[in-house]
C-alpha cells in the first residue's frame, strides 16, 4: 500500500447520487406540502431519511478512510480549503439577512415615514424601529429584549467556544480525557442554547404576540435567529459525531481534520451569534 504517500483519489462514489436523490425528494415534498398536496409530508420524511442514511454512510466511509491512513497531507489541505470556502459561503448567506436588516432599518423604513409617502399614504405612521409597518401587520407585539435569555445564551455560546478550544488543546497534547470532556461540555452547551432559544420563541409566540408575521421586525428577528439556531443544531450534531469518534479513539494530534472542521464551524456559529446579539437584540 503506497496510498498514504500519494494523493488519494476515489474511483467511484455511490453516496453523492443517493444524497442528491434524498435532498431532491425532500425539497419536492416540501414544495408539494406548500402547495397543499397531501403527499408532501410523506415525501419530505422519505427524502430526509434517505439524506440521513447518506450522511451516515458517507461520513462513516470518510472516517474509516481517514483512520486507515489513506489521506496524505495534500488531501488534508483540500479538505481544509473545502471547509473554509463552505463556511465563507455560509457567512455570505447570513450577510444577506444582516444586509436586509440594515437596509430596512436605515433606509426603507425611514423612507416610509417621510415625504409624500407619509403624507399621502399613511400620515399616522411613525417610522421607528422596531416596526411592523404602516399596515400594523401581525397586530400588536412586544419587541424581544436583550438581557434575559438572549444574554444568557450569549454567555453559553461564548463559554462553549472556550470549551471547544480546551478540547482542541487536549487533543493536541494527546490528553484524551480533556478532549472528551471538552467536547461533551461544548455539545451540552450547544443543545442548552437551542433549548433556551426554543423557550424564548415559545414566550414570543404565546405571550408577546411576536411572530414571524409581525411585520418586518418579526420577519428579520425570526429569520436571523432561526437560521442561526438551525446552524447551532447542525454544529452541535457535528460536534456530537466528533465526540462519538473521539470516544472510539479516533484522531491523532497530527491528524484530526474532522475535529478542526467542526471547531471552525462552531466558532463561525459563535461569531454570527455575537453579530445577532448586537444588531438584532441590543441596537
Amino acid at each position: 500500500m503506497s496510498t498514504n504517500t500519494a494523493y488519494y483519489i476515489p474511483h467511484k462514489a455511490t453516496w453523492p447520487v443517493i444524497g442528491t436523490a434524498g435532498l431532491m425528494t425532500m425539497l419536492a415534498g416540501f414544495a408539494n406540502y406548500l402547495n397543499g398536496s397531501s403527499i408532501g409530508p410523506t415525501m419530505m420524511v422519505i427524502g430526509l431519511l434517505i439524506f440521513i442514511v447518506m450522511l451516515v454512510g458517507w461520513f462513516t466511509l470518510q472516517a474509516k478512510e481517514s483512520e486507515s491512513g489513506m489521506y496524505n497531507h495534500g488531501v488534508g489541505i483540500s479538505y481544509r480549503m473545502g471547509m473554509m470556502w463552505f463556511i465563507f459561503s455560509e457567512i455570505i448567506f447570513f450577510a444577506v439577512f444582516f444586509g436586509t436588516l440594515w437596509y430596512t432599518r436605515n433606509l426603507s423604513v425611514p423612507w416610509l415615514g417621510e415625504g409624500a409617502t407619509k403624507e399621502i399614504l399613511h400620515s399616522a405612521y411613525q417610522a421607528t424601529w422596531p416596526t411592523n409597518g404602516p399596515g400594523n401587520v401581525g397586530g400588536h407585539y412586544e419587541p424581544m429584549g436583550a438581557w434575559g435569555l438572549p444574554f444568557l445564551n450569549t454567555l453559553l455560546l461564548l463559554t462553549s467556544g472556550v470549551t471547544c478550544t480546551w478540547a482542541h488543546h487536549g487533543l493536541l497534547a494527546n490528553n484524551r480525557d480533556q478532549l472528551i470532556k471538552g467536547l461533551a461540555a461544548t455539545v451540552l452547551l450547544g443543545f442548552l442554547f437551542v433549548t433556551f432559544q426554543a423557550i424564548e420563541y415559545h414566550e414570543a409566540y404565546t405571550e408577546m404576540g411576536l411572530t414571524l408575521g409581525s411585520g418586518i421586525y418579526g420577519s428579520t428577528f425570526f429569520m436571523l435567529t432561526g437560521f442561526h439556531g438551525f446552524h447551532v443544531c447542525v454544529g452541535a450534531i457535528i460536534l456530537s459525531v466528533v465526540l462519538f469518534r473521539s470516544a472510539k479513539g479516533h484522531f491523532k494530534p497530527e491528524n484530526h481534520f474532522a475535529f478542526e472542521a467542526a471547531a471552525w464551524y462552531w466558532h463561525f456559529v459563535d461569531v454570527v451569534w455575537l453579530g445577532l446579539f448586537i444588531f438584532v437584540y441590543l441596537m
Binding site: 500500500m1 496510498t3 494523493y7 483519489i9 476515489p10 474511483h11 467511484k12 462514489a13 453523492p16 447520487v17 442528491t20 436523490a21 435532498l23 431532491m24 425539497l27 419536492a28 416540501f30 414544495a31 406548500l34 402547495n35 495534500g74 489541505i77 483540500s78 479538505y79 480549503m81 473545502g82 470556502w85 463552505f86 465563507f88 459561503s89 455560509e90 455570505i92 448567506f93 450577510a95 444577506v96 439577512f97 444586509g99 436586509t100 437596509y103 430596512t104 426603507s108 423604513v109 416610509l112 416596526t131 411592523n132 409597518g133 404602516p134 399596515g135 401587520v137 401581525g138 414571524l212 408575521g213 411585520g215 418586518i216 421586525y217 418579526g218 420577519s219 428579520t220 425570526f222 429569520m223
Partner: protein
C-alpha cells in the same frame, strides 16, 4: 522558451496500484464516476441538451413575435417561455458548460491527476440535474411554469396568476443549483490552489485557469445571496413574513438590490471563463504568445471586483436617490477599462501573427468583435438618463444577447471545436464546422441587431404582442432566429460525428500546430487517456506568459 517536457501518463499505469482505475462498466459508470473527464463530459452533454431545450423555448418566442397579434401561444405561456428560456440557458446551459470545460481542462492544464474533491465533484453534477428537474417539472404544473421573468421580482412573482403552483419548485430549484455551483466552485479553487504541478507558479497558469479561479470565487460569494433572496420570497409567500411588503415595513425594491447583488457578478460568472477560453485559443492560431498576460490576469480580477459594486445599474428606473444613480453610473463605466484592456490584448495578440482561420479561431474572432459591440451597448445603458429610455425595451434584450450568444455561446462552440480532437482523438469535419460558423455568425446578427432598433423605438420586452410599427424588424429578427436555431443542429451533428470518428484522420498529440508551447494538455496523448498526470509534469510551458519574465 521550452515547450513542455512532461512525462506522459501511460495506459498501463494503473496496474501498479491496488485500485481499479478503469471506468466502471455500462451506464453505472456515468452515475458513480469520480473521474474529472467523465464528469466534464456529463456536464458538457447535459449543457448541450439544455441548450436545445432553452433554444426551443426561444423558437417559441420568436415564432409568436414573427407577426403582431397573438398567433400560437397564450400570453401567460409566452411569459413562461421568456422566464424559463432565461433560467434554462443561464443555469442549465452556459454555467454547466463552463463547469464541464473546467472539469475537463483544469486538471489537464495544471498537471493534476484529478479534481481535488472527486466525490463532491460527482455530487455537484447530480445536484445540477436535480435542480433542473425541479425547474422543468413546473412546465407540467397547474398554472404552468413561472412567468414573472427570470429575476423573480416581487410582488409580481408572489401573485397567484404569475406562479400557480410553480413558485416553491422554482425556489428549491434555485437552492439545489446554488448548492451545485458552490460545491463545483469549491472544488475548482481547491484543485487550482492545491493540485497544481509544483513547477507551475500562479503567474504561469493558463488564462483559462486564472479566469476560472476568479469565477469560482464569484460563485461562492454570490450564489448564497440568490439563495437568501429566494428564501425570503418563499417565506413572504407561505410564512407571512414582510420582507418585500411595504405594509409590514418591508420593501420590494430590497429584493431587486439583493437579486442584482447576485445577478451582476452572475453575468461575469458567465463571461469570465469565456474570456479565459478566448485567451487560450487566439494565441494558438495567431502563433504568438498572448499579449499582456499579466494585464489579462489583473483585468480579470478587476472586473470581478467591480462586479460587486455596480449592481443597481440594473434598476435605474426603480426610484433611487440621485446620489445612487450617479454612483452606479460612474462605477459601471469603469468596467469598460479592464474590459478594454482585454479586447486590446486579444487584438494585439493577433497583430502581425501568422494567423490561420480554423473553426475555433473563427468563432473566437467573431467573439472579440461581437462581444465588443455588446459591451458598447452596455456603456450606453450605463448612462442613467439614457437608460430611462432603453430600460426594459428590446434594447436591453439585444445588449445582453450580444454578450451571451455571440460571446459566451460562440466561445463554448469554439472550445468544442478546439478541444474535441484532443478529447476524442478524432478530427471534426472542418467544412461543416466553417459552415456552422458562417451560418451562426450571420444569422445571430440578423437575429439580434434589429432588436436594437426595436428597443430604441420603444418596444417593451416580455410582451407577446406589439404595435404595428415594430412588425418589420420583428419578422427579420425571427427569420434570423430560425436560421440560427437550425444552424446549431450542425453543431450537434459535429459533436456526434467527431466522437464517432470524425474525418477519420488521426490527430497528433498537439492537434494544432505548436500548441504544446501554449498549454500542458497538448503534451498528453490524443485521445487523452482516462487517467493523466499521476506524476505531475516536471516543467510547464511558459510561452503564454512570455512578456512577464
Amino acid at each position: 522558451m521550452s515547450a513542455a517536457v512532461a512525462e506522459h501518463d501511460d495506459h498501463d499505469d494503473h496496474h501498479h496500484d491496488d485500485h481499479d482505475h478503469g471506468p466502471a462498466k455500462g451506464l453505472l459508470r456515468w452515475i458513480i464516476t469520480t473521474n474529472h473527464k467523465d464528469i466534464g463530459t456529463l456536464y458538457l452533454l447535459f449543457a448541450l441538451a439544455m441548450f436545445f431545450v432553452g433554444g426551443s423555448m426561444a423558437m417559441v418566442i420568436r415564432a409568436e413575435l414573427f407577426e403582431p397579434g397573438l398567433q400560437f401561444v397564450d400570453p401567460a405561456f409566452f411569459n413562461s417561455m421568456t422566464t424559463m428560456h432565461a433560467l434554462v440557458m443561464v443555469f442549465g446551459a452556459v454555467m454547466p458548460a463552463f463547469v464541464g470545460l473546467a472539469n475537463w481542462q483544469i486538471p489537464l492544464m495544471i498537471g493534476a491527476a484529478d479534481m481535488a474533491l472527486p466525490r463532491m465533484n460527482n455530487m455537484s453534477f447530480w445536484m445540477l440535474v436535480a435542480g433542473v428537474l425541479l425547474l422543468a417539472s413546473t412546465l407540467f404544473m397547474e398554472g404552468g411554469a413561472p412567468n414573472g421573468g427570470w429575476t423573480l421580482y416581487p410582488p409580481l412573482v408572489l401573485q397567484p396568476i404569475t406562479v400557480g403552483k410553480a413558485l416553491p419548485f422554482a425556489i428549491f430549484s434555485v437552492h439545489l443549483l446554488g448548492i451545485s455551483s458552490i460545491m463545483g466552485a469549491i472544488n475548482i479553487i481547491a484543485t487550482i490552489l492545491n493540485m497544481r504541478a509544483p513547477a507551475m507558479r500562479l503567474m504561469d497558469m493558463p488564462l483559462f485557469v486564472w479566469t476560472w479561479l476568479i469565477t469560482a470565487f464569484l460563485l461562492i460569494a454570490v450564489m448564497p445571496v440568490f439563495a437568501g433572496a429566494v428564501t425570503m420570497l418563499l417565506t413572504d409567500k407561505f410564512f407571512h413574513t414582510s420582507f418585500f411588503n411595504a405594509a409590514g415595513g418591508g420593501d420590494p425594491v430590497l429584493y431587486e438590490h439583493i437579486f442584482w447583488f447576485f445577478g451582476h457578478p452572475e453575468v461575469y460568472i458567465m463571461i469570465l471563463p469565456t474570456f479565459g477560453v478566448a485567451s487560450t485559443i487566439i494565441p494558438v492560431f495567431a502563433r504568438k504568445p498572448l499579449f499582456g498576460y499579466a494585464s489579462m490576469v489583473w483585468a480579470t480580477a478587476s472586473i470581478a471586483f467591480l462586479s460587486f459594486i455596480v449592481w443597481a445599474h440594473h434598476m435605474f428606473t426603480v426610484g433611487m436617490p440621485i446620489a445612487g444613480e450617479l454612483y452606479f453610473m460612474y462605477a459601471t463605466m469603469i468596467i469598460a477599462v479592464p474590459t478594454g484592456v482585454k479586447v486590446f490584448n486579444w487584438t494585439a495578440t493577433m497583430w502581425k501573427g501568422a494567423m490561420t482561420f480554423e473553426t475555433p479561431m473563427l468563432f473566437s474572432i467573431a467573439f472579440v468583435v461581437l462581444f465588443t459591440m455588446g459591451g458598447f451597448t452596455g456603456l450606453m445603458m450605463a448612462i442613467a438618463p439614457s437608460d430611462f429610455q432603453y430600460h426594459d425595451t428590446y434594447f436591453i434584450v439585444a445588449h445582453f444577447h450580444y454578450t451571451l450568444v455571440p460571446a459566451s455561446i460562440f466561445i463554448l462552440m469554439a472550445a468544442g471545436y478546439f478541444w474535441l480532437p484532443k478529447w476524442t482523438g478524432h478530427m471534426y469535419n472542418e467544412k461543416i464546422g466553417q459552415l456552422h460558423f458562417w451560418l451562426s455568425a450571420i444569422s445571430v446578427n440578423i437575429l439580434f441587431f434589429p432588436q436594437h432598433f426595436l428597443g430604441l423605438a420603444g418596444m417593451p420586452r416580455r410582451i407577446p404582442d406589439y404595435a404595428i410599427q415594430f412588425a418589420d424588424w420583428n419578422m427579420i429578427s425571427s427569420i434570423g432566429g430560425f436560421i440560427f436555431g437550425a444552424s446549431q443542429l450542425l453543431f450537434l451533428y459535429i459533436v456526434y460525428d467527431t466522437i464517432k470518428g470524425g474525418t477519420g484522420e488521426k490527430v497528433t498529440d498537439e492537434v494544432w500546430e505548436d500548441a504544446a508551447k501554449h498549454g500542458l494538455e497538448w503534451t498528453l496523448p490524443s485521445p487523452v487517456p482516462y487517467h493523466t498526470w499521476s506524476t505531475p509534469p516536471a516543467a510547464v510551458p511558459t510561452e503564454h506568459v512570455l512578456d512577464t519574465h
